[in-house]
Amino acid sequence: MKNNMAETPSVFIVTAHGRQPLEAVGNERLFELLDRHHVPWSAVSIYTVPRDGGAPQLRASLDKRLSEFNDVSDILLYFNRNVNPFIFNVANFVTLKQAGEHASTEYLYQRLDNERSASDIFLKKMTEEECKDVIAQRVGDVIRDNLPPGSDLVVGVSGGGDSNALLHALSRLDDMKLRIHPVIIKGIPDWDKGVPRAEELCRRYGLSLTIVEDAEVQQILGIENHSTSLITRFEREFAGDDFEFLGTLLVRLALIRHAEALGTPYICTGLNLEDVLCEALFRTTNGQGPAGIPVRSIGEYRLLFPLWLCPKRIIDGCFPKQSLDNYDARYPCFSLGRNLYYSIVYELQSRFPAFTEQLAHGYAEQSRKNPVVYQYDEQLGFHVERFVPFPLRQKFERMLRDVGTPA
């Protein structure tokens, strides 16, 4: 097969399963051509066949455009394993018929068939109600496996899509007869903006929302002088880092305080599939096994992640308006690690939709076999997993005392 441009060579990917011609577009580089066809650059060796005859030559040319191969008749991209690189081509999806109603989201489902050595991809468009049904089923699985009926459950909410979907799902578990205690904390603009949404949602489900005001949030951390906002303190001491890291601690401490008052050990937050995988991948690169999924014991409390098998795309399809409001209230993430691990999860999920759930199940099983034990840190006043280095502890303490960095 020849391309339309007379001087440009034909491009084939050569596999043990046969030679697949690849169409080029314009004068793109080989890198873009591979990327467009979902062929990993790291899996191919590039050989070129001279126009005037001769043996194929190995050529390092990912950055070369097709117009630079004037002396070449064919570019042969040898796949360096005997696997079929096109089995999992996620672009070959079949769109499933949808029953008429407006779809709020869509998701690619993948069937991995060991018998046929095949992968089938299905694009499923989903209505809000379908999304809610999916989330309710997944949440129900976690709750029924981990809580006795009639339990008190303290739920961290933000007014955004994840916590709204979580509350909705919990409200559907009539058989469990749970007493749900939603808690929202304030102190930074995107949290504060979520309060009216959370209030509205709790009214809808007949739940009583506990709002932890800014001053109490600071007091939970041991801050006595409330003159400076938490986010300003954080920015001063940890410039360029992300408030989310402090946020997850604050939510946990607020939920624990409320759970203690109620006399229940059960608390939960809205970590979804991508969140648990992001954490687990980070921990793996850090030489640590996964922390408890979908439940972890921190001191005498059991922190549950009922949304652990729920992709954010489906969660956001439950309450599209609230999800959009949540997006509009966000700060950008600057820490390289958080950017890196989320990016990897999304790449995996987008190219291999069924694999991320398998990975999550694997991590969950590992976490059950080797549970993480958290220790109470007397100085900090809460549980941590491992020793906190002195310089970091000092910075944290300075933030709490708002004394600024010494010259």
């Binding site: 001063r236 809205g270 950008p332 941590v384």
Partner: protein, 69 residues
């Protein structure tokens, strides 16, 4: 940085989402001078990237090392 400047920087970050930017950063034509030893050092001996810039997960991460809530 004083509180007022900090507050302004924080607000500026919050408003980024409404501004048109170029995040794709195409680097065609740029030349770097890195030796193979340096490159191999990056690849094979690199320390893991901490979740938070300052490693805050060590203090805060029992509920999620990567900051999800």
């Amino acid at each position: 940085m004083n509180n007022a400047k900090l507050a302004s920087a924080i607000q500026s970050n919050f408003d980024l989402k409404t501004q048109t930017v170029n995040l794709t950063g195409f680097k065609s034509g740029q030349v770097e001078h890195l030796s193979l030893a340096q490159l191999e050092g990056m690849r094979s001996a690199r320390k893991p990237v901490s979740a938070s810039k300052f490693g805050l997960e060590t203090i805060c991460g029992a509920s999620c090392d990567t900051g999800a809530q």
